[in-house]
Every structure is written in C-alpha cells, then in structure tokens.
Symmetry: C2
Subunit: 213 residues, 2 copies
C-alpha cells in the first residue's frame, strides 16, 4: 500500500483535536465519537473521521474511538513526543518573542540557539538560549545536525539566510519573512505571515464598510 502523505489542512486541524481530547474530563468516558467531536468543534463529522483515519487504528461503530489511543496517535504523528532541535535567525521583535515562548516544548520543538548579525546582542542570552553571530551558523548547524530553522529576519535578508540554512543541512524551514523562499525540492518551507493575515481582515472591513459596492 502506497504511503499517503497527510494534507496540510488535516495536519493543521490535528492540534485542535489534541487540545480537545486533552481537555476532556479525566474521569469521563474512555471513548469518544467523531460525531460528538465534530459537533463540539463545529466541523463536519466525516471530515473528523477521515482526519483521524490518517493517524490512528480507527474506531468502532456505536462505540467510537479510544481517547487515550487517539491522543498518543496524534502526538506521534505530529512528532510532539520526540524533541526536534531548531535554530532561530533574527533576534528582532518577533524573534525575541519566539525565544521567550514556553509553548514550543510541548510541541516537540526546542530552539537550542539563535543567531543575529547585531553585535550588541550577540553573546547575550534570552530565556537560556545563546545568541551567536550568523558567521557561526554553518558550523553549529552542521555539527549539531540541526534539521529545523526559524527565519525571523527582514524581507531583504531572508533568502540569504535560507540558503545558508540549506547549505548547513536544515530541511524544514519556518519562514516569517514576507517573501517566497527559493529552496531545493528536498527542503520543506512553511510560511507564516502576519501581513497576509492582516490583508484578509483588513479587506473584510473595507468591503463591509465601503459605500461604493
């Protein structure tokens, strides 16, 4: 049977399922139906079943799914139970927050070190993570076999940093810069962009309150 990759949409819903399942009352039922999950999360029930089918052993008619199994299946599929080391480049506003953010560990990600070109912050520490000069990136990432890189530099520098990461062996890149990165096909990029989000929200207000529809 051919390997079927999990779609981005399905993956993005997984943390929602995980949250929901973990928030279920501790002494409650051992099983849960996709129908009930869908109702509570305001999703389509077939969609929930298809999503769950991607990660688990399936449920039983009339009974539903075993909550505990579902939780561990989802965590396994998302890699939330084994830690990936990551590096972050660009300790500006956003970079600093990500370094200070405590929620990554339970998502299986550990930012082990950060890089910046700004001499005045190089050598300092944020939340226990050292900030090193970008010139050290290659040697550190290749030696530590870092697989994940988080880009929080400005638009202009993003592609250069990306190239450096790729050369250093990084294969998964989380890009917060507002540019489309050019990478070889064996490197995965996920873009997260505040401006895109604002575009959607702001356009909604423009359309809603404009007089010349």
């Amino acid at each position: 049977m051919a390997f079927k990759p999990i779609s981005t949409q399905t993956l993005q819903r997984m943390p929602m399922y995980l949250n929901y399942l973990k928030d279920l009352p501790v002494g409650g039922a051992a099983n849960i139906s996709a129908t009930m999950m869908a109702d509570d999360l305001r999703l389509n029930d077939v969609q929930v079943r298809k999503d769950l089918a991607m990660v688990g052993q399936g449920g039983r008619p009339k009974i539903g799914y075993v909550v505990k199994d579902l939780i561990s299946d989802i965590e396994h599929c998302l890699g939330f139970n084994n830690i990936d080391s990551a590096v972050l480049i660009g300790v500006g506003n956003l970079g600093r927050t990500l370094l200070e953010y405590e929620g990554f560990s339970e998502c299986g990600v550990d930012i082990v070190v950060a890089f910046d070109v700004n001499q005045s912050i190089v050598g300092t520490t944020i939340n226990g993570k050292r900030i090193l000069p970008v010139s050290k990136l290659y040697s550190i990432c290749s030696r530590m076999k870092i697989k994940m890189g988080i880009i929080t530099v400005g638009t202009g520098e993003a592609q250069g940093i990306c190239d450096l990461l790729v050369k250093s062996g990084v294969v998964a890149i989380w890009n917060f810069a507002s540019v489309r990165l050019n990478v070889p096909s064996n490197v995965f990029v996920h873009n997260d962009n505040m401006t895109s989000s604002l575009a959607v929200l702001s356009n909604y207000l423009v359309e809603r309150f404009s007089t010349n529809k």
Copy 2:
C-alpha cells in the same frame, strides 16, 4: 453585476505582490507584465492575472500593467491606506510583541489600546499604548466604535473575550488562541496559530526521518 468577494488565497498573495511592486527599481519601466511577476515570484501567470483582475482595471496586451496603479489598487483593496483602529486583549508574551511591532501602521492597522486582567501590568504603557483592565473593554470599544480585535489570551479565556468583543461591536477578530471561536455570522474571524504551523513542520520531519514508513 454581482459583487464577487475576493478569496482568502488571493488576499493572502496580495501583500506579496505589493512588496514586489514596491521593490521594483524607482527609475525603471512604468509597466510590468503578469508573466514577469509570476516568474519572479514563482507563481502561475494566469493566477497572477486573475488575482490582479480582482483589484485593478486590468492590463493591456503586450504592455502589461501600470505599476503605480497596481500599487494603489492593491493598497486600496487591502485597506492599507486607511487606518483601522484595533484593540488587543492579553498582554502576555505574544501580545507584548504585537504591541511593540512597528509594521502594522503600513498595513493600515493601529492598535490603540490593550486590555489585560493582570493587575500588575494594568495602567502601564507599551510602545505608547495603554494597558487597561478588561472591565473597561465594553465601554471603550463601543464608545470608540472599534471594529477590529486581536485575541492573544490563553485557550481557556479566548471564547469569553470573543463574546465580549462581539457584544462591544467588534466585527473582525484576529484570533491567536488555539480554539475555534463561536461567533455570529456577521462577525469575521481569522485564525493564526503557531501550533498548527508547528504541526505541519514537525510532521514533515517525522515522516522524513521515520524508519517504519
């Protein structure tokens, strides 16, 4: 002719076009072809033309589009040229960053005030923005006719804050909490969620490096 809403996908690409057009050499050609934009941005050329058709007057065969017009059309469509006032609720890690972020102004958004329940920060100021108790949210938002709210509170508090925003007249909500918010149909919610992004990246690494495919 019926009004045709712009798809989320198209809207999310708009800032990319805008960046690209603004970065074009100042003394350069007055026109640009969708073909060239698509090549440079690594997009499909028909897609670029369809996107641009949603906002502008169209281009001319052989000539292309007028750069200057395109820029102003996109800015207008995104509402980047008229300022919307917004409020932010939850001055934790992420909330603080958003308050300090200087990039919103050029996207037509101005966070005018923030709210938090934490007495030790209420009354202080971040980047010129006052932090007020949540108990003041209703009176301030309704009096100032605030239309946009940014939710950066924890998972548990998000729905309550959302309800309060809706009651106060806010119609566009940018939600960073990892829950699906329940809102009336005349309120627009855009979700931005770090955990979803990490799910996608982390699953890529799991699949790529797992032995038992």
